[in-house]
């Protein structure tokens, strides 16, 4: 699964860092594999971090964040999302 870069405001506690998170000077703030907590996220905001590389489907979920599951049309967006996820997963095969 590809890595996703999310704007900091969209990163949630529980998401996992896909690569080392570095500050503008190139210093490692958090190593790859770190599970982000709210306390860590709050601290990153004060360190000039704009985007965070996280694992998996986080970016896809973010892109489809306005998908309204109660809409009668929801199945269409869901189909697109599912096809996209399947394609991304299979692209490296």
């Amino acid at each position: 699964m590809e890595n996703d870069c999310l704007p900091l405001a969209q990163v949630r506690a529980g998401m996992v860092l896909a690569t080392d998170l570095r500050d503008k000077g190139g210093h490692v703030l958090l190593p790859a594999g770190t599970t982000l907590t709210q306390a860590l996220l709050d601290r990153l905001a004060g360190q000039g971090i704009d985007t965070v590389p996280v694992h998996g489907d986080a970016r896809l979920d973010y892109l489809f964040r306005r998908l309204d599951p109660t809409s009668p049309d929801a199945w269409a967006a869901r189909a697109l999302k599912d096809h996209l996820r399947a394609w991304r997963a299979g692209a490296g095969e």
């Binding site: 306005r66 009668p72 697109l80 096809h83 394609w87």
Partner: protein, 280 residues
């Protein structure tokens, strides 16, 4: 903040940069059966920047030509008239409207999305055996109303961009809330001003409401291409958002898993080849 109406748009259209004559000609002859290729080639050849971009695209890996084309005439011969015309139109349009007086509006991001939508629309059209040429051009132009609003009302549009940042909505909702008019209405005004065909105008007008009676099939193609382009994340904007997808339009395109994956892969591959040349 002022509330704009359709008349405000129309009154400002004359201040927009006019399209290059060669693009107007390409757009106006899109349904013409007989087009004099030699005349077209000589017109394009007079514009060096346009020629250079077109040839770079024609020689890029996606077309897999065995020879290196060095003239527009050769490009038309080897690629075919339709494909060459798409390249010329894309190369010419992305060079227009370059100036930026609107805070927060990214022309490169706008064109990345438009190019992605154009390519995806062409692939969707191929899948359902619709006119690929129409689809490509309509995809390229579907959001042209945003350029109208940005060019004519840069300060108001900056307000809409800020509003969207706070409310996290599709563009059209932010435009309606802040400007009182949206890029669809502005695009329709421009389509009339530039004498686009009724088909092209209809696609621009209905790409957010393809299920409406009389919207036309091209509107469904562009609607779905637009959603896929957003979902492929090709514009490279942090707060990218997939707009609502019309079930009617999605159904009309008969995309099963295999065909959808082919469209996604083709769109990504062709975008990677075309975008750096067009925006470089």
């Amino acid at each position: 903040m002022s509330r704009l109406g359709y008349d405000d748009i129309v009154q400002n259209l004359d201040e927009l940069p006019s399209l290059p004559a060669v693009v107007m000609e390409l757009l106006s002859c899109i349904d013409a059966e007989e087009v004099d290729i030699a005349v077209l080639a000589s017109k394009v050849a007079q514009d060096q920047a346009l020629t250079a971009k077109t040839l770079r695209l024609a020689n890029s890996a996606i077309y897999g030509l065995q020879v290196r084309v060095t003239t527009i005439q050769q490009a038309i011969t080897y690629l075919g008239f339709q494909a060459a015309r798409n390249l010329i139109t894309a190369a010419a349009l992305t060079g227009c409207f370059a100036s930026n007086r609107c805070a927060g509006f990214s022309h490169p991001a706008f064109w990345r999305h438009s190019i992605a939508t154009a390519i995806c629309a062409k692939e969707l059209a191929r899948h359902v055996r619709f006119n690929q040429d129409y689809a490509f051009t309509a995809g390229l132009l579907h959001d042209v109303g945003r350029l109208v609003l940005v060019s004519c009302f840069p300060d108001d549009y900056a307000g809409a961009i800020a509003w969207r940042g706070t409310h996290d909505t599709p563009w059209i909702d932010a435009e309606r809330a802040v400007l009182g008019i949206d890029h669809v209405a502005a695009g329709v005004a421009l389509a009339e001003h530039w004498n686009f065909s009724a088909t092209m105008r209809g696609a621009i007008e209905h790409h957010h409401a393809p299920e409406l009676q009389g919207a036309g099939f091209l509107a469904s193609v562009i609607h779905v291409a637009d959603a896929i382009a957003h979902a492929l994340d090709l514009a490279c904007i942090a707060d990218e958002l997939v707009p609502p997808v019309s079930a009617v339009a999605w159904h009309a395109l008969r995309l099963d898993e295999q065909s959808c994956r082919r469209v996604l892969a083709q769109t990504q591959t062709q975008f990677d080849a075309m975008a750096p040349v067009l925006l470089g």
